[in-house]
């Protein structure tokens, strides 16, 4: 049991973005979160990662109460996230994007006088991570020279490089051409399984979800509609009615 | 009298900050060039009035000339603003903050020297509007009518702009663009035109501030620096984009300045910067945030 969410509530004036949500995530489990627009998926990610503080409820991570902890503390504890709109360091190279993530999450940025390039083991680790994400051949490129799909992978690689135990991904394939979506998900899931991470993936595309995750959480209007294995949940008539029109 | 002094200065600051707020709200641009509009308005007005009134024939129409001068200052400044929006500013909307600051700062410097080229280093005075309107006597206190005029003008313009933004169809367009440019263009709104219009209005406001001020302070090089910084503080303290906040902030800052000049006339030079420093040091988020809760 890596993450436990109890009765989480987040309201924005009258809008109940997250309305009494409870669920748990196991170690090595990959959970997909689906739901129509405005169902509260991103809000939930924001609450777990620490971007937002809830109005009520509790979040427990590895036995610790993290409900009101700031994001950087949660990062130290092993929760990392990636973003729906790609969030990179645009003026440093691809490999530097990963290297800086490694440096800072290991507390090495205090060093002011030894050139970064001399930290060979860090560079090695960065290259390994880039290899997992299929970007190592473009390590010296600048982020704006990558394709959209590659940029998304880099965004996730930055989170991955902080050596998390739980990684939260907000629509990792949005904005990517449909033919590339599966390839990208292959890479992402590979990376996750390789390090035995737990993951939460918010997705719109139901085909993606059913093929890659261990279990699915269906959200609607801030409440959980269903939770379980993909093939079971997605055949549920109520779920189908709610999600009708999203995909297929 | 100190109060009125503070109020008229506050009015000038309010006009300037209105321009800053508008252009920041709609186009997300931090526009240091607003200071240039202030000095341009001042110079054009002062030059016009002093030149026209040096002709003996026109001396009889001093009041008319004065107000034409102010009007002219505003209009020409607005047109200059329009010109630079279409040639330079449109490239500045989407760049990073430091580059925006640098670019608009560059423009500020350019205009400063252009003013020096055109009008030389001398001070141009045009006190006529101030003098001609005379004073109002109430209870033995004398109030300069011109000061009152400034206050009334600024107040009316403030209300007019509020009306425009919140009660007209055009205002809706402004607000949509300020919320989200992409959505706005998706809705068929010409974001370009709205941005240009906003900048034009901003320039008019800046020019108005300068034109109104020049009978009191005269036009001189570098005159825009202090008002620019202070109006920036007004916009900041009131919360960027917040009209009521700017109103209150401009009054506070204007009165503070007026009181401090009266009590400590020697430190006037550093005064402005001290005010700025204190405000930013104590309330980095803005005054109104604390009040409104």
């Amino acid at each position: 049991m890596i993450l436990k969410v109890y009765n989480l509530k987040k309201y924005f004036k009258e809008v109940r973005a997250v309305d009494n949500v409870s669920f748990t995530i196991d170690s090595n489990e990959v959970v997909g979160i689906v739901g129509p627009n405005g169902a509260g998926k991103t809000t939930l990610i924001n609450l777990i990662s620490g971007f937002l503080l809830p109005d009520d409820g509790r979040i427990e991570y590895l036995g610790h109460d993290i409900t009101y902890l700031p994001p950087h503390i949660r990062l130290k504890m092993g929760i990392a996230r990636s973003f729906q709109i790609v969030n990179l360091f645009e003026r440093i190279s691809v490999i530097d994007n990963v290297i800086i993530s490694i440096f800072s999450s290991r507390g090495m940025t205090r060093n002011m006088l030894k050139p970064a390039d001399f930290y060979t083991h860090v560079k090695e680790e960065a290259i390994k991570i880039l290899e997992i994400f299929g970007l190592s051949h473009k390590k010296d490129y600048m982020p704006d020279e990558l394709s959209e799909g590659e940029r998304k992978l880099l965004d996730i690689a930055i989170a991955y490089a902080t050596n998390p135990r739980l990684i939260l991904m907000d629509e990792p394939t949005s904005g990517v051409a449909t033919k590339d979506k599966f390839r990208i998900m292959d890479i992402i899931i590979n990376a996750i399984r390789a390090n035995k991470l737990s993951a939460v993936i918010v997705e719109h595309d139901l085909d993606i979800i059913s093929s890659y995750v261990d279990s699915v959480l269906v959200l609607n209007e801030g409440r959980i509609l269903a939770r379980g294995k993909p093939n079971e949940v997605l055949e549920d008539p109520l779920v189908k009615k709610t999600l009708f029109g999203i995909s297929r | 009298m100190i109060i009125i002094n503070g109020l008229y200065y506050a009015s000038i600051l309010y006009l300037l900050s209105l321009g800053l707020n508008l252009i920041f709200g709609v186009s997300k641009l931090i526009n240091l060039t607003q200071g240039s509009f202030y000095s341009l308005g001042a110079y054009i007005t002062a030059w016009f009035i002093s030149t026209m009134l040096s002709f003996y024939i026109l001396k009889g129409n001093a009041l008319l000339i004065s107000f034409s001068g102010i009007l002219l200052g505003v209009i020409i400044t607005g047109l200059i603003g329009l010109l630079i929006e279409k040639t330079v500013i449109k490239y500045i909307y989407n760049i990073s903050l430091e580059r925006q600051l640098l670019a608009t700062y560059g423009l500020l410097l350019i205009f400063m020297d252009l003013e020096r080229m055109i009008w030389g280093g001398n001070i141009i005075s045009a006190p006529q509007p101030l003098r001609l309107l005379g004073e109002l006597s109430i209870d033995g206190y004398h109030y300069s009518i011109y000061y009152l005029l400034i206050i009334i003008t600024a107040f009316s313009i403030g209300i007019a702009v509020q009306f425009l933004i919140y009660k007209t169809d055009l205002g809706i367009l402004f607000r949509v663009v300020s919320y989200d440019r992409e959505i706005a263009s998706g809705l068929g709104i010409s974001v370009k035109k709205i941005s240009t219009l906003t900048f034009f209005i901003s320039a008019l406001l800046g020019g108005l501030a300068g034109s109104l001020m020049v009978p009191i302070t005269s036009a001189s090089l570098g005159m825009e620096l202090d008002p620019l910084i202070l109006s920036f503080m007004v916009a900041v303290a009131g919360g960027l984009g917040n009209f009521w906040g700017s109103l209150i902030a401009s009054i506070i800052i204007g009165e503070t300045r007026s009181i401090m000049i009266a009590i400590f006339p020697e430190i006037e030079l550093a005064l402005i910067y001290l005010i700025v420093f204190i405000i930013l040091a104590t309330k980095p988020e803005g005054i109104l945030e604390r009040k409104g809760g």
Partner: protein, 349 residues
């Protein structure tokens, strides 16, 4: 094995840089024997400005923070020297005053930084302007101490362990001070290079590019901005103190916003996105300022245009232009391909 190869590769790169540096130093050292003394004085000015712009660019180019009032540190450095020369002539030794100037600027930066960095970036730029103008007014105000707008003379300092008798200031600069300047400049250059290439330097760049993400990968954004600010202020303060001795005189103008503007200008001129850009910019700035007296009449216009054009179109400045010419020799095909991808992506976005 790969680690070893990588290490060797990095060493090779560093050796190449070192070689270029040594050649550069060598050229600087022989110049006094080739050029007349006024050139040497010009280079001395350029070197002190270069230290200032180098420091300034740590804050602007690497951390992404623009300050319109960095001249204040320059003034603190310069006036530290001048005031000691005037009121404490017994300790007016070069080593001592430079140290005091360094400490004063560092302290001032440390104090101001606490307040200045609480605000967001646009306000920070203006706040620094306010700070420098307050100091400017204070210098003018306390006439009895600072001699106000008359300024203070800066005589030749004594040196610990070296005695120089009865020579003119010109000769002093060309024969002795020039070499001191070179050494201090080289040391500052190396230290700055180490700082920007270190993990800390990378963290600053991350802060520049995306402060939110930087925070989310564990960088203490506020603290690092503060460090960057203090280091940059110290550099500019050092530059001011060194400059005051070359200039033999200091006046309140060095705290004025127009001088801050000049610091921005010289940093931008050479290119604020390249490490050596500011150095190049400082050299060109010194050239323009000292040699084209006719054009300084419309100095604001000229610098304003340059600042506008560079910030909009050429953040790489003149330094970038040189780099392009140099890289022109590199294989053209790879560059063209990558350039095309970049253009394509830009259009798609």
């Amino acid at each position: 094995m790969r680690l070893y190869i990588n290490y060797i590769y990095e060493l090779k790169k560093l050796t190449k840089i070192l070689m270029t540096l040594i050649i550069f130093i060598f050229i600087l050292l022989i110049l006094p024997h080739i050029l007349p003394s006024y050139y040497i004085i010009f280079i001395s000015y350029a070197l002190s400005f270069a230290i200032a712009s180098l420091g300034f660019n740590l804050l602007l180019g690497y951390t992404g923070l623009l300050s319109f009032g960095h001249a204040v540190f320059f003034a603190i450095g310069a006036y530290s020297v001048a005031l000691i020369a005037r009121y404490l002539p017994n300790i007016y030794y070069f080593e001592i005053v430079i140290l005091i100037a360094l400490i004063s600027s560092a302290l001032f930066a440390a104090l101001i930084g606490i307040i200045a960095l609480r605000v967001s970036e646009a306000y920070f730029a203006i706040l620094m302007l306010a700070v420098s103008m307050i100091i400017y007014s204070l210098i003018l105000k306390f006439y009895t101490i600072t001699r106000g707008s008359d300024g203070l003379p800066v005589p030749i300092p004594k040196f610990i362990g070296l005695t120089i008798h009865g020579i003119s200031q010109d000769v002093f600069i060309v024969k002795y001070y020039y070499y001191i300047l070179i050494s201090i400049f080289i040391v500052s250059l190396i230290i700055m290079y180490l700082i920007v290439s270190s993990p800390f330097g990378k963290a600053l760049q991350a802060i520049r590019d995306n402060p939110n993400r930087a925070y989310l990968i564990g960088i203490n954004v506020k603290l690092y901005k503060y460090y960057s600010f203090v280091i940059s202020g110290t550099y500019v303060g050092l530059a001011g103190s060194l400059w005051s001795i070359v200039n033999m005189y200091t006046s309140p103008e060095v705290a004025h916003w127009s001088f801050s503007s000049d610091i921005v200008y010289m940093t931008l001129l050479g290119g604020y996105t390249i490490f050596l850009g500011p150095v190049l910019g400082a050299i060109i700035y010194t050239l323009i300022k000292l040699y084209t007296v006719i054009f300084t009449q419309y100095w604001l216009l000229a610098s304003g245009i340059i600042i506008l054009i560079i910030s909009l179109l050429f953040p790489e400045g003149l330094g970038g232009a040189f780099l392009r010419a140099y890289k022109f020799l590199a294989p053209l095909t790879i560059k063209r391909e990558r350039k095309e991808i970049r253009e394509k992506n830009r259009r798609l976005r």
